[in-house]
Structure formats: structure tokens, C-alpha cells
């Protein structure tokens, strides 16, 4: 067990190294001089030269990489080329918005997905099974940004019951305590603001949660069907357990093992999905921040956002793998 954890931890080092190398080389791979890109075409040679020195571009490439890495180790991700704010501060400002969105999306996806999967497995080949499995297939094929637009049209434009975009109505002003509006509004007991923040969250969270929900539903169904064939289910039935007991206690616990892994991995990919969802709903999170940085060719932001998102993604995968080893005796004991 210990050696497995150690091995898994050590393997992340070359992966992280590879990611930093890739992110670092971005600036050098893009056509043109980065200094000219920042100053514009009309900049004079002297100021370009000064900026190159300032950015360390005149040093050998391995020295540049070393400087880049030691800065990151110190928590210095550089400054945005457009706002001149430290990248890390900008990131921390926006990260809670993305986490809040991704968390609610994941809760919706897990609850509904697991429920639909279980019912489909128990009532196999029923109308519910066919409908939910078709819906699951449709969910996987749905462009998340299109679903977002359709939701906006029906619930915000047509019915007018939910807001079109953003995180909070202009009339509200919440103190940034944790950065999570749902939590902050509850902390200051501003229930109207809480309700407004929740209303803003629903549509983007549903849009973002649809694909994971579809995958979780399909996974739960097939895993549940597999488990229901096992001998221990027959034993449980034979000893007189009720149908509910068999399903909820004996089958579900075992069937959820692979589902837990998938849920963990999905959480990582939700960050990626949030790039499109945040753009659709003007959600002020890291996805929209990254896309804006690409429009403005703000390389320090693109580099750091990529590095941070990739690191979070790698960390989540690592945690999922380790948790899985803890729950699954086959790996734990090997």
C-alpha cells in the first residue's frame, strides 16, 4: 500500500515537469518576439531591448527556464500583460467562482446520474430505462455551450424565471470573505443575496453538469447490472432481505466503486468544461479569464492559468487514484 502511494506520487513529478516545460515553451513557440507582442509593432528598438532584458529574454533558454521555475516556486507567476496585476491575485479572485459552479454542477450530476442509473438497472428494458439511456447518449453528444444558450432562452428570456448571466444581481453587494457567494451571503445572514446567487448558479450548473450526469448514469447502470448478477446478491435475497435492502445495502455499495472513480475524474474535466460554460453565461471564473487572455494574447495569464488548471487536474486525478486504492482491497493489499 505504502509503496503504491509512493510510486504514484513519484510518477507525478515527471508529469508536472513536462507541463511546466510545455507552458514555459509557449512564449518561445509563438511566432514573433514576445517583447514586441507586448509593446506593439511601433515600439522603438531601445524599449524592446530594455523589455527583453527585463523579461530575461536575452539569457540562454535553460537559464530562463530556471528563473521561471524558481519564481513559480516562490509563488510569483508574473504580472498580467494587460492589467499589470500579479497573475496569482487575479487567479485567486476568480477561482472560487469556478469552484462554486463546478461543485454545484457535480452535485446535480451525481445525484441525478446515480439515481437514473439505479432505476434504469432495476427496471431494465422499461420505458424509463430506454428514455434515460437515450437521454444519457444525447447528453454526451450535446455541445455544452449550445445547451447553455437553450437554457438561457427558455428560462431567462421566455419564462423570465432565472437570470441570463453573471454571478449576482447589481443590487447586491456581498463582502468577499471566502469568495464563495453562497457561503459569504449566509455568513452575513443576507438571505436575499443567497437566493439571488443561487438563482444565478442554477442554469450554468445544469449546463455544465449535463455531460457528467450522462456519463455517471450510464456507468451506474452497467455497474449495477453487473453487481446484481453476483452470488452475494442471491445470498442476500435467499436469507430474506427486502428488495430495498438488497439494492441499497448489498448492491449499491459495490456498484458505486467504479462510479466513484469516474466522479473524481469528471471533477477534473469539469474545470475544462467550465471554459465554455463560463463564456456562455459570462460567469466571472478562471475559464472566462483564460479565454479573455487568449483574445488579448496575454501570455503570462495564459501560461499561469494553464499551469494552475493542469496542476489542479493532476492533483485531483492523484487523489482519486489514492482514494481508490484505499477503498479497493485488490490494490490496497497488492
Amino acid at each position: 500500500m505504502f509503496s503504491y502511494i509512493l510510486k504514484r506520487l513519484i510518477w507525478t513529478i515527471p508529469t508536472l515537469f513536462g507541463v511546466t516545460l510545455m507552458v514555459f515553451s509557449m512564449v518561445h513557440l509563438s511566432p514573433g518576439d514576445p517583447a514586441v507582442a507586448i509593446l506593439g509593432d511601433k515600439a522603438n528598438a531601445q524599449s524592446v531591448k530594455e523589455l527583453r532584458t527585463q523579461m530575461g529574454l536575452d539569457k540562454p533558454i535553460y537559464t530562463q527556464y530556471f528563473i521561471y521555475m524558481s519564481n513559480i516556486a516562490k509563488g510569483d507567476f508574473g504580472k498580467s500583460a494587460t492589467s499589470y496585476e500579479p497573475v496569482l491575485d487575479e487567479f485567486l479572485d476568480r477561482f472560487p467562482a469556478t469552484i462554486e459552479l463546478a461543485s454545484l454542477a457535480m452535485i446535480i450530476a451525481t445525484v441525478l446520474g446515480v439515481l437514473a442509473g439505479i432505476i434504469s438497472a432495476i427496471k431494465r428494458y422499461s420505458i424509463f430505462d430506454y428514455t434515460s439511456m437515450f437521454a444519457a447518449l444525447a447528453g454526451v453528444s450535446m455541445p455544452v455551450f449550445w445547451l447553455g444558450l437553450i437554457l438561457i432562452y427558455f428560462f431567462a428570456v421566455k419564462l423570465g424565471v432565472l437570470p441570463v448571466s453573471g454571478r449576482l444581481g447589481y443590487e447586491f453587494d456581498i463582502d468577499h470573505i471566502t469568495g464563495f457567494y453562497l457561503i459569504d451571503s449566509l455568513l452575513v445572514k443576507d438571505y436575499e443575496a443567497f437566493w439571488d446567487a443561487l438563482r444565478h448558479l442554477i442554469l450554468p450548473a445544469v449546463a455544465l453538469g449535463t455531460i457528467p450526469m450522462a456519463i455517471i448514469a450510464r456507468m451506474t447502470r452497467s455497474s449495477m447490472i453487473e453487481v446484481m448478477k453476483e452470488e452475494y446478491i442471491k445470498t442476500a435475497r435467499a436469507k430474506g432481505c427486502s428488495r430495498f435492502q438488497v439494492i441499497a445495502i448489498h448492491a449499491l455499495r459495490n456498484a458505486l466503486m467504479p462510479v466513484v472513480t469516474i466522479i473524481g475524474l469528471m471533477f477534473g474535466s469539469l474545470f475544462a468544461g467550465s471554459i465554455l460554460t463560463e463564456t456562455t453565461f459570462s460567469w466571472p471564473g478562471i475559464g472566462k479569464w483564460l479565454v479573455n487572455a487568449v483574445y488579448q494574447r496575454d501570455f503570462p495569464v495564459i501560461q499561469s492559468a494553464t499551469l494552475i488548471i493542469a496542476t489542479v487536474f493532476i492533483a485531483i486525478n492523484l487523489i482519486v487514484d489514492l482514494l481508490y486504492a484505499v477503498i479497493n482491497p485488490k490494490i490496497r493489499l497488492s
Partner: protein, 283 residues
């Protein structure tokens, strides 16, 4: 082959998928004959006309027009060409590189395998759309660069699939027999092993087509792929955002086109998996 068709026909959703893809191909090939207008034809007098069955709609513009008075139906039809081209080119690119990487890794094993799979792991450790955005931000936004980005992003998945299926074949008797007969490494890899390891690769390519179309639409929606006035479905959706209250048809139909295309390839991939290798299912 006859067996294959018989088996495939039995799978209803696979047949639906096949027909969706067939219709797309027909639309793409015969776009000039099916479309009523040229995709870039503007007519500002006819801007924002609703679909013909809605109030104010006209029969000359079946699905209505956009903010430049361009015929939506024609743009969607021509869009099929772009989506199929994007899918084919990026899948072709991922497949070519992935195939070589996976084949080499599995065939030679040892350090070569370790090295190649490390690169694959690093690429897979970054979410696909993020990696695609990074590549486009380096190369600059355009449809061609989006295709390249999607092609590169797909490589590790193909490399993994190819490696796994080649590993399963490598030690089989017919391979050993062929090796004893004096076949070269190249012959063993491409002529002997590859045809027998092709099933999962075919399935992956079909499913990969679906995700390539989806990713391309996503990049174009973000403004990083096809640029106006290209009739690309994702780019059309991105234009429609500001007309959500006044011209909702600009949102519905391009999205529906993406949805059906992706669904078609997914259904076909699912069906191929069932028929060619039932064991792969639920893995």
C-alpha cells in the same frame, strides 16, 4: 463482411447513427444543389427573418436569416462540409501520429515504451479543450490552426488504444511464426500485427470524429476557430448570442446540426463496438 452487415443491421441505434452520417455526407457533397443560397450571400433588407412556419417567415428562407440577411438553412448545409472536413483532417492527424507512437511503444517495449507513454501521460494530464486553446493561442486563431490543435490533442488517446491492442497481439503465435520466417520489424508492425489489432482503432476513430467536431465547434464558439464569414456551426452560435431575445432561431438550428452530427458518430461508434468486439463494451 456479410456477417458484419447482418450484425450491424440488428443494432437499431447503430443503424440510426449510420443514416445520420449518410445524410450528412449527402448534404456536404451536394451542398450547392441543396442549399437555396450561397452561404456568404448577404442581403441587409432581409435581415433577421424568422423560419418560414413562424409569423413573418418567408418560403425563400426556410430556417430564416441571420443579422446579415444570410440564409440560415444554406449556411447550415455548407457548415456540414466544414464539420466533416475538420473531423476527417483532425482524426487523420491524431490517428497517424497516435498509430506510429502506440505501435512503436508496444512493439519495442522497454525504455521506448516508457518514454513514449510518459509523453502520452503528460499530454493526457491536461484537459483536451485547454490544451487545444493553448495550441491555438500559440498559432493564432483560425480554422486550420483549430484543426491542428484538435489533431494534436487527440494523439495520446489513439496512442493508448493502439498500444493496448498491439500489446495483446504481439506475443500471439502467428506473429512469432512470421518473425521466425524472417519478417522485418516494419513488416511485422504494419502488415502482420496492425490489421489484427484494428478493431479498437476503428471504434476509437469513429468516436474521435464526434469529439473532434464538438471540440472544433467549441473553439469556434470561443472565437478561436473558424472566423467570420465561414459558415461553421460553432462560430454561427457565437454570433447568435446577442440575438437571443430577437432571433432565437439563430441559436436553435446550428446547435441542432452539431448535436445530430456528434450523436450520429457516437451511435455509429457504439454500434461498431457492439458488432466488431462485444468485449470492449462497458470497459
Amino acid at each position: 463482411m456479410r456477417d458484419f452487415i447482418k450484425q450491424y443491421k440488428k443494432n437499431k441505434s447503430a443503424v440510426v447513427g449510420f443514416f445520420i452520417v449518410l445524410i450528412l455526407l449527402i448534404l456536404a457533397l451536394f451542398a450547392p444543389f441543396i442549399a437555396s443560397h450561397l452561404p456568404a450571400d448577404q442581403n441587409l433588407a432581409d435581415r433577421l427573418i424568422p423560419p418560414m412556419w413562424e409569423e413573418g417567415g418567408v418560403t425563400t428562407h426556410i430556417l430564416g436569416t441571420d443579422d446579415f440577411g444570410r440564409d440560415l438553412f444554406s449556411r447550415i448545409i455548407y457548415g456540414a462540409r466544414i464539420s466533416l472536413m475538420v473531423g476527417a483532417i483532425s482524426v487523420g492527424m491524431s490517428l497517424t501520429f497516435g498509430l506510429v507512437m502506440g505501435l512503436v511503444a508496444a512493439y519495442f517495449g522497454g525504455k521506448v515504451d516508457l518514454f513514449v507513454m510518459r509523453i502520452v501521460d503528460i499530454m493526457l494530464s491536461i484537459p483536451a479543450i485547454l490544451l487545444a486553446i493553448v495550441i491555438v493561442s500559440i498559432l493564432g486563431p483560425s480554422l486550420v490552426n483549430a484543426m491542428i490543435a484538435i489533431g494534436i490533442v487527440g494523439i495520446p488517446t489513439y496512442a493508448r488504444v493502439v498500444r493496448a491492442s498491439v500489446l495483446a497481439e504481439r506475443e500471439k503465435e502467428y506473429v512469432i511464426a512470421s518473425r521466425i520466417n524472417g519478417s522485418s520489424n516494419m513488416r511485422l508492425m504494419f502488415k502482420v500485427i496492425l490489421p489484427n489489432a484494428a478493431t479498437p482503432i476503428i471504434v476509437q476513430s469513429t468516436m474521435g470524429f464526434a469529439s473532434a467536431v464538438l471540440e472544433a465547434a467549441g473553439l469556434s464558439f470561443l472565437g478561436l476557430g473558424a472566423q467570420p464569414p465561414t459558415p461553421e456551426w460553432g462560430a454561427m452560435l457565437s454570433d447568435s448570442l446577442q440575438f437571443i431575445t430577437t432571433a432565437p432561431w439563430m441559436i436553435f438550428y446550428p446547435g441542432l446540426a452539431i448535436f445530430f452530427t456528434v450523436l450520429g458518430f457516437n451511435l455509429m461508434g457504439d454500434g461498431l463496438m457492439d458488432v466488431l468486439d462485444p468485449k470492449l463494451k462497458d470497459k
